[in-house]
């Protein structure tokens, strides 16, 4: 019997395809929405309820510090509809090449499988979970830069903040790289001159896109069903989704953790700055040496000319003195962004903490 059951369906390719698919004429209202070249700019990102819950679960389950997954969907009339997502496996300690290959294999077979059950199978971006708002890291930037070249509209990255969510405020934000940063990244030049010409600071690496959460009517109906109290139950036994008030919890925990994070990030930043300062001192030293040498040669040749001799032949100074290239400031910029993000989340926690404290004392009539 099991064999009969297991008799697999005919392969989808062999399935009788409808003879000569007929294309209906598009209604005129839709014709403006045809957007082959991705010319309609994105206005906002729309996250489906399924995706929200999938990201939440992945962020909670995963043991890696920044779990990553891919977002699937479609863009229509300036709205990037994200309708599905799947998690990417986390590789710890594997060598990069091998893990990259296996991730790629995983990705293709997952996409193929989703297509078979009528799911969306076009990648529109990726998501990453982070703690305390510090999502700036090299990994994210690199991945997004790859996507920006390949995907329509350059793809988006949805950042989910685990610690915010634990504090009763599910936080999802959508970003993409700014054109200025993309330009600098393409040239992979992050020296001071390039930064200045692109006006790049940590806050102008990513631009935020408005993000909206969407639930389809069926899901809305279900959630509505769950959160309504059925009339014939006794007091106390509430609905499947009882209201929660943990947002009012006075203990604004995680302050110390947050402070520690800030100190750590600042330390990292100081280290990086120290490296940069060391490198730039070295550059200055080498340059001074080279300048001295050139000056001396000039004086010498001037002296020789004065004495009526032939001037010294021109020499390639760059070969004599190796002036190291100017260091990339990307890392320090990202670290600074992290410091800022930690400080921002700390400021937010304290501001809500203040409100809660006053609210608590207001009740006691003090």
């Amino acid at each position: 019997m099991a064999a009969a059951l297991a008799a697999s369906l005919p392969a989808p390719s062999a399935a009788p395809t409808p003879a000569a698919p007929t294309y209906e004429a598009l209604p005129s209202s839709m014709s403006t929405l045809i957007d082959v070249e991705a010319e309609i700019p994105l206005r906002f990102v729309q996250l489906d309820g399924l995706v929200v819950s999938k990201i939440l679960k992945h962020a909670c389950d995963s043991n890696s510090s920044s779990p990553i997954g891919l977002l699937l969907g479609i863009d229509l009339d300036g709205v990037l509809e994200v309708s599905n997502s799947f998690a990417l496996p986390h590789h710890a300690g594997d060598d990069d090449d091998k893990s990259a290959k296996s991730v790629a294999r995983y990705q293709t077979s997952m996409l193929r499988s989703l297509k078979e059950v009528q799911g969306d199978d076009s990648i529109v971006g990726f998501y990453q979970a982070s703690t305390l708002g510090a999502f700036f890291n090299q990994n994210l930037i690199d991945l997004q830069a790859i996507h920006q070249d390949k995907l329509r509209h350059g793809g988006v990255v949805v950042v989910h903040d685990v610690s915010q969510t634990a504090r009763e405020n599910a936080s999802f934000r959508a970003f993409r790289l700014t054109p200025a940063f993309k330009d600098a990244y393409k040239k992979s030049s992050f020296n001071t001159a390039s930064l200045a010409s692109h006006q790049l600071t940590f806050s102008s690496i990513l631009e935020e896109l408005p993000l909206k959460v969407h639930t389809n009517p069926l899901l809305s109906a279900f959630l509505g069903e769950f959160s309504t109290v059925s009339p014939n139950t006794v007091l106390g036994s509430a609905s499947a989704l009882p209201p929660s008030f943990s947002a009012l919890d006075l203990n604004s925990g995680g302050l110390t953790k947050n402070l520690e994070h800030i100190v750590d990030a600042l330390d990292n930043y100081r280290n990086e700055e120290g490296n940069l300062a060391y490198l730039s001192r070295q550059i200055a030293r080498e340059r001074a040496k080279a300048d001295n040498y050139v000056m001396k040669r000039k004086e010498e040749s001037a002296a020789r000319v004065a004495q009526g001799l032939a001037p010294l032949p021109e020499e390639d100074v760059t070969r004599l003195f190796k002036i190291p290239p100017e260091p990339s400031r990307l890392e320090s910029m990202l670290l600074l962004g992290q410091v800022d993000a930690y400080a921002k989340s700390l400021a937010e926690t304290t501001s809500t903490g203040l409100v809660k404290m006053y609210a608590a004392t207001a009740g006691s009539g003090a």
């Binding site: 369906l9 006006q199 940590f202 209201p243 600074l336 404290m357 004392t361």
Partner: protein
């Protein structure tokens, strides 16, 4: 936490037989994660026109008597009047893919939409029982509530063979209780979706949208919620005191339990000085941290600007 219309089914707990030590005990309860539910709904929305119902595999963890469904994925299948076929290759591939991301989740059973339990259900159940063996496979039937007369809800079943000579196409589906379960940290996400869903209900728009809020907005909405609740209780109590409404003893007791806890603090006035001291200390700490955070932000901003200036 019932996940559907109340039913009159008695949930039979099978007696623990000391004889069958090697045979795993049958599960007596199921909890289901929202992701699994939402995936099923999504799959249902994406079904082909000729499909009555969709089926898929449930993944999760199990303890001795409890099955926790953590996620689910869709499986291709076809039903005609003569036969049922399930795409096993697909099922295997998907399972392997899921194992790569989360190796702890194993196959625990299967789902279908609609409350129709027929011979094919028994056949599929029989198949999944082989996948989950030696444990029992659980079956979740999800009523989407789109067909008239069928209220939306989720029901969980295990199967037991029936008849003198058990045949795979015959079995009894024994209902067992299902509840929704998720981590506390996921709570806010579910709340976000619920508020999104509910905000759309009164309006006629077919889709609902809302943006995630900041923590201050969440806090203010919670406080407003509390204030409205207090108002509601106050009007009720006043109505009862004025004799306009019949007082309910149970409600009165609940109110006393809830409010009694907070009035104890007011009873001894001596404690309030220490309370005020603690409050002031804490206030200063919080203000200090807030000041520090803003200072760090200002410094970071200045530092990033200086990096640009030094080049000029």
């Amino acid at each position: 936490m019932p996940l559907g219309p109340p039913s009159s089914a008695i949930n039979i707990q099978p007696a623990v037989s000391s004889l069958s030590q090697n045979v795993p005990r049958t599960p007596t309860s199921i909890s289901i994660h929202p992701v699994a539910l939402f995936s099923i709904l999504d799959h249902y929305l994406r079904r082909k026109d000729d499909q009555d119902r969709v089926i898929g595999t449930l993944l999760g963890t199990r303890t001795e008597t409890h099955v926790e469904i953590r996620t689910s994925f869709a499986v291709l299948h076809s039903e005609t009047s003569e036969q049922v076929a399930v795409d096993m290759d697909y099922h295997r591939t998907m399972y392997e893919l899921h194992r790569k991301v989360n190796s702890k989740e194993v196959i625990v059973g299967w789902y279908s939409t609609g409350s129709n339990l027929n011979t094919y259900s028994a056949l599929i159940q029989n198949f999944y029982a082989q996948e989950t063996g030696p444990h029992q496979a659980v079956h979740i039937s999800l009523d989407t509530g789109v067909e008239p007369g069928q209220p939306a809800g989720v029901k969980g079943y295990i199967s037991s063979p029936v008849g003198v000579f058990p045949k795979p196409e015959n079995c009894v589906f024994v209902p067992i209780p299902v509840e929704l379960k998720f981590r506390d940290s996921e709570r806010s996400g579910v709340d976000l979706l619920t508020s999104t869903a509910l905000s759309s209900l009164p309006s006629t728009s077919s889709s609902s949208l809302s943006s995630p809020t900041t923590s201050l907005e969440t806090l203010s909405s919670s406080i407003e919620n509390i204030i409205s609740m207090i108002d509601r209780v106050l009007t009720y109590v006043r109505a009862v005191l004025a004799g306009e409404a019949q007082g309910d003893a149970a409600i009165g007791r609940y109110l006393m339990d809830t409010l009694g806890a907070s009035t104890e603090g007011d009873a001894d006035v001596g404690g309030s000085a220490a309370e005020m001291g603690g409050f002031n200390g804490r206030l200063q700490d919080t203000l200090m941290v807030s000041y520090l955070a803003n200072l760090v932000r200002a410094q970071a901003e200045v530092s990033s600007r200086l990096a640009l200036v030094s080049a000029a």
